[in-house]
């Protein structure tokens, strides 16, 4: 496939890209292409200027008015926040964009039937961990919703500081479905993002866990919950900037597993 063909194919997606209506993988591919294609960049800029005016169009037609005290309340909140950071000598809000999300956030695209199952599995895994003497304080899995953290994920997967690794299929029995995955990290942040595609739904009682290995030490980054298209994402706080690891695996295993034992589905190894 030459570059012109590739560009021509990607142009078919520019409209949906600007509307944020593409799936995450295609969106990422388009974004990468835009970084080196001035023609497509111009088209996207035209579209962006159009869609960014849509709220104005709605606003001009709407009879609603702004609440009178809204600004006052907002500025009071901003001042409170600023005063708090000053008094505690913490990083000002503008410099502290990355905060671990509450663990009560639900993973991406759980169906209504999977949500209570996930909650139950989560509770069981906590109980088993406590029984086995695993300190819960070491559980650093961030169960984040892809949708509510899109901006954060883009910050990690698409920047000049980003390093990425491709998780190749390690289980030949899935060669027909061709699942794949990618792991992203930045050399100036402690967060690791993993994304998978075309993973089949795991059997009951099993989940896909991402494991990271360094010097033969295994670190469970967390569970990847996949939607009906096999797409899943995970944001993991490694608690150290530019986390190094020499191997990454997505392992299909029991939901309560605390060791990397199971069926390795996707794998990456440092050269």
């Amino acid at each position: 496939m030459n570059n012109n063909t590739h560009c021509h194919q990607l142009r078919e997606h520019l409209e949906a890209y600007v509307l944020n209506a593409l799936d995450a993988d295609t969106s990422m591919i388009v974004r990468k292409h835009l970084a080196s294609c001035p023609d497509c960049q111009q088209i996207v800029r035209d579209y962006e200027s159009i869609v960014s005016d849509l709220p104005d169009v709605l606003s001009n037609l709407s009879p609603l008015e702004l609440p009178p005290n809204a600004k006052q309340q907002l500025m009071a909140t901003i001042n409170q926040q600023s005063n708090h950071y000053q008094s505690t000598a913490s990083t000002p809000p503008a410099a502290a964009p990355y905060r671990p999300q509450p663990q009560s956030r639900m993973p991406h695209n759980l169906t209504r039937y999977a949500r209570p199952v996930f909650n139950l599995l989560f509770v069981i895994s906590l109980a088993v961990s406590a029984f086995l003497g695993v300190a819960l304080a070491h559980e650093r899995n961030l169960r984040l919703s892809l949708e509510s953290n899109t901006e954060l994920i883009f910050e990690i997967v698409d920047s000049d500081h980003t390093q990425r690794a491709f998780l190749a299929l390690a289980d030949p029995s899935l060669s027909e479905q061709r699942p794949y995955g990618k792991v992203f990290k930045r050399d100036d942040m402690p967060l690791v993002v993993a994304m998978t595609g075309r993973l089949p739904q795991p059997p009951t009682g099993q989940t896909y866990n991402l494991w990271l290995f360094m010097d033969e030490q295994a670190e469970r980054a967390g569970e990847i919950v996949v939607d009906h298209m096999g797409f899943g994402a995970l944001v993991y706080d490694a608690q150290r900037v530019d986390p190094e690891f020499e191997r990454a695996q997505v392992i299909l295993q029991s939901a309560a597993s605390t060791t990397p034992v199971g069926t390795t589905i996707l794998s990456w190894q440092a050269q």
Binding site: E15, A21, D46, P55, D56, L66, I78, P92, A96
Partner: protein, 203 residues
């Protein structure tokens, strides 16, 4: 978009100042965009939740100001994405019926006013605000193209989610989005329309 004060300072310059903790610059951006964000929130979540949404969205702006990168596009588009992401997340937690109501309401609001189609194209663009040109172009779209574009933008739905909601083939949705957006672009930027535009035959 009307600038209420200090109109000579660009949004891009203001957000850089906000990133440095400049509350005056933040206040100016609030003045410029607050009504638009509030109306968007009100029509998406309802007026009872719109004020909270307005606060949260501007708080995100305050806390994420340093993330704006002018090399990646205009401030307005970046900020509207912040607003839309917040509203989309809130909307998705609501029932399907509620979501459908929102999309119908916005759809009808943007479809019901009849534009003055007797004004020549050149006069439509010269001297008219951008949003009026866009509204005119939007209302000239076939209903089915306008519908999918509004679902994608205001409801934050992906192409596949739209196809699912409207019970249409994915390819049909893709084509409607592409054709509709292309027509908007040609209208707004006064580009030469395609010769012999064929009626949509995507079903």
């Amino acid at each position: 978009m009307e600038d209420k004060s200090n109109s000579s300072i660009s949004n891009e310059d203001l957000i850089i100042q906000v990133a440095e903790g400049d509350k005056v610059a933040f206040s100016l951006l609030y003045d410029r965009f607050s009504r638009t964000v509030y109306i968007l929130a009100a029509h998406t979540l309802g007026t009872s939740d719109a004020e909270e949404a307005l606060q949260e969205i501007f708080l995100r702006l305050w806390n994420q100001a340093h993330q704006y990168d002018e090399n990646r596009g205009e401030f307005k588009h970046w900020f509207m994405a912040i607003a839309r992401n917040y509203l989309r997340d809130k909307l998705r937690k609501r029932s399907k019926e509620n979501q459908l109501f929102v999309s119908n309401e916005i759809y009808h609001l943007l479809s019901d006013i009849i534009p003055d189609s007797k004004i020549p194209v050149e006069e439509e663009i010269i001297g008219r605000e951008r949003s009026e040109v866009l509204l005119n172009a939007l209302q000239k779209l076939p209903d089915e193209q306008r519908r999918v574009i509004l679902l994608a933008y205001f409801n934050g739905l992906s192409q596949s989610a739209i196809a699912n909601q409207l019970n249409l083939p994915l390819g049909t949705v893709k084509k409607r989005i592409k054709l509709g957006m292309e027509k908007l672009r040609r209208s707004v930027f006064n580009l030469v329309p395609q010769i012999e535009e064929k009626p949509e035959q995507d079903e």
